[in-house]
């Protein structure tokens, strides 16, 4: 008998404490659904996330990593997310340069009032990861060519 293995993506969402995490909360209390594949990690500010966090999430088996923060201009620490924006632009461009699928990483700005946006963003992102399938390129391959 053949057991069909269904692909269940593992998705890590880094959410800043002040906006996006609250947005996720709102989504929850408004009974808006988003896939259970998304594991939220709360960070004090989107700029707390250094590239190593994202890479390590992939190394440990994530199929997609999304980073959510306050809208530019609204960061609790005034300017944190402006730095995030530059850093992530650079990191994503490097991943693309190395041949990794572009869709596996994403940055979204979600405010504390945007429960609906939070749920839409997560639904879209998860759908994209389903489309891309398992992360093999950035995963722990454990063997060379």
């Amino acid at each position: 008998m053949q057991v069909e293995k269904q692909f269940k993506p593992k998705i890590v969402a880094f959410c800043c404490n002040w906006c996006s995490y609250a947005g996720a909360d709102l989504a929850g209390s408004s009974r808006l659904s988003y896939p259970a594949d998304v594991k939220i990690i709360r960070v004090p500010c989107s700029c707390r996330v250094n590239p190593l966090f994202i890479l390590r999430a992939f190394e440990r088996g994530a199929d997609g990593v999304i980073l959510c923060g306050c809208h530019p201009g609204d960061c609790h620490y005034s300017t944190g997310n402006y730095y995030t924006r530059r850093r992530m632009t650079m990191l994503f461009s490097m991943l693309d340069y190395l041949g990794v699928e572009k869709g596996r990483t994403r940055v979204e700005w979600v405010s504390a009032a945007e429960g609906v946006k939070f749920s839409t963003v997560m639904n879209n992102f998860v759908a994209k990861i389903y489309e891309l399938g398992e992360n093999v390129k950035l995963g722990d391959l454990r063997c060379k060519k």
């Binding site: 190593l52 632009t89 190395l98």
Partner: protein
């Protein structure tokens, strides 16, 4: 260069004798004629032993962090090395008052491997002769074009002009090199499909033996404690069969120096596996230029780096994914 070497020796001896400095950081003969290595010379007589020829590719600026803490130190810097010096000043890793910079003229450094790759065996010496190199071997002499044997970093030299110095030897300084084609290979890679790029990098990065030479030689890698030396970092810090870890190391190494890398080419020069690490750094340099405006790290000592800066109008990270699929 023979002439310059002579002048350098006597000038350095003079600087030690007249008390301008108490030691000089320069190049010394290595084990082989082609591996001149960084060294300190602390007396006028020793300074007679310093070497300056076409195998002085090593960038001496990083050594100042450790050796120019006390007293006054003189250092020999080629044009490309002066960018690193400025960058170290910017980051407060060295202090200008302690250092006397002698800018040395440079017309390109030679890569012994390129000579060997021409099929020349049993090389015992290489002498410069104008545009040519006279290669002595066990089987006689051969002449090759110097331009064909340059280090990768010299092929795309960005400047023959010193960006910081106290004196120059020879006195006349060079100019910026406008057309150096340093992004040619990056563009070539960008034009490939994602699959091809992945293949390319997997092949390259799989060669890495994690000797850390690239990190140790880099004048921008100056953290007291590197994240890769932290046993809790989750990175094994050795060459293992996990092909992702190699990438993680390389992405983070390159990312960490993004906006600070002066493109001095040391990482690729020292890599024993000949991994083209400069292609990672140059990708960041190119992207920074395109997204945030032309920027050359180390041009002056008071710039604010692009990744510790922002404007409210910066592009969103989606700009990368919107660039079309290839």
């Amino acid at each position: 260069m023979q002439e310059i070497e002579k002048t350098l020796r006597s000038r350095c001896a003079e600087l030690i004798n007249n008390g301008t400095c108490d030691k000089v950081i320069a190049w010394d003969r290595g084990e082989f004629f082609y591996d001149n290595s960084p060294a300190t010379f602390a007396c006028a007589d020793c300074a007679q032993k310093l070497v300056y020829d076409c195998f002085c590719g090593a960038n001496l600026s990083k050594y100042l962090i450790q050796y120019a803490k006390e007293g006054k130190t003189a250092v020999l810097l080629k044009p490309c090395d002066t960018y690193s010096f400025n960058q170290l000043l910017t980051e407060h890793r060295i202090s200008r008052e302690n250092i006397y910079v002698i800018g040395v003229g440079c017309d390109g450094m030679v890569d012994i491997d390129k000579i060997r790759a021409m099929g020349i065996k049993g090389i015992t010496a290489v002498k410069e002769d104008g545009e040519d190199l006279v290669v002595s071997t066990l089987y006689g002499e051969k002449t090759v074009k110097k331009a064909d044997c340059l280090l990768e970093k010299c092929v795309s030299c960005k400047s023959k002009k010193h960006y910081v110095f106290d004196e120059l030897i020879p006195e006349a300084d060079g100019e910026d090199v406008k057309e150096n084609g340093r992004f040619d290979m990056v563009e070539k890679l960008e034009a490939m499909t994602a699959e091809e790029r992945f293949e390319f990098w997997q092949e390259q990065l799989s060669k890495c033996i994690r000797c850390n030479a690239c990190r140790n030689a880099c004048p921008a890698c100056t953290c007291r404690k590197c994240v890769f030396d932290n046993p809790h970092s989750g990175v094994a810090s050795k060459a293992n069969a996990d092909s992702f870890e190699e990438k993680m190391f390389h992405i983070v190494r390159a990312f960490h120096v993004a906006g600070r890398c002066t493109d001095c080419g040391e990482c690729s020069r020292v890599c024993p596996q000949n991994i083209p690490l400069h292609l990672l750094n140059r990708k960041f340099i190119k992207e920074i230029n395109e997204f945030y405006g032309e920027y050359q790290a180390g041009e002056t000592a008071d710039q604010r780096g692009p990744l510790v800066n922002y404007t409210t109008e910066d592009a969103e990270p989606t700009a990368v994914s919107d660039r079309g699929d290839n």
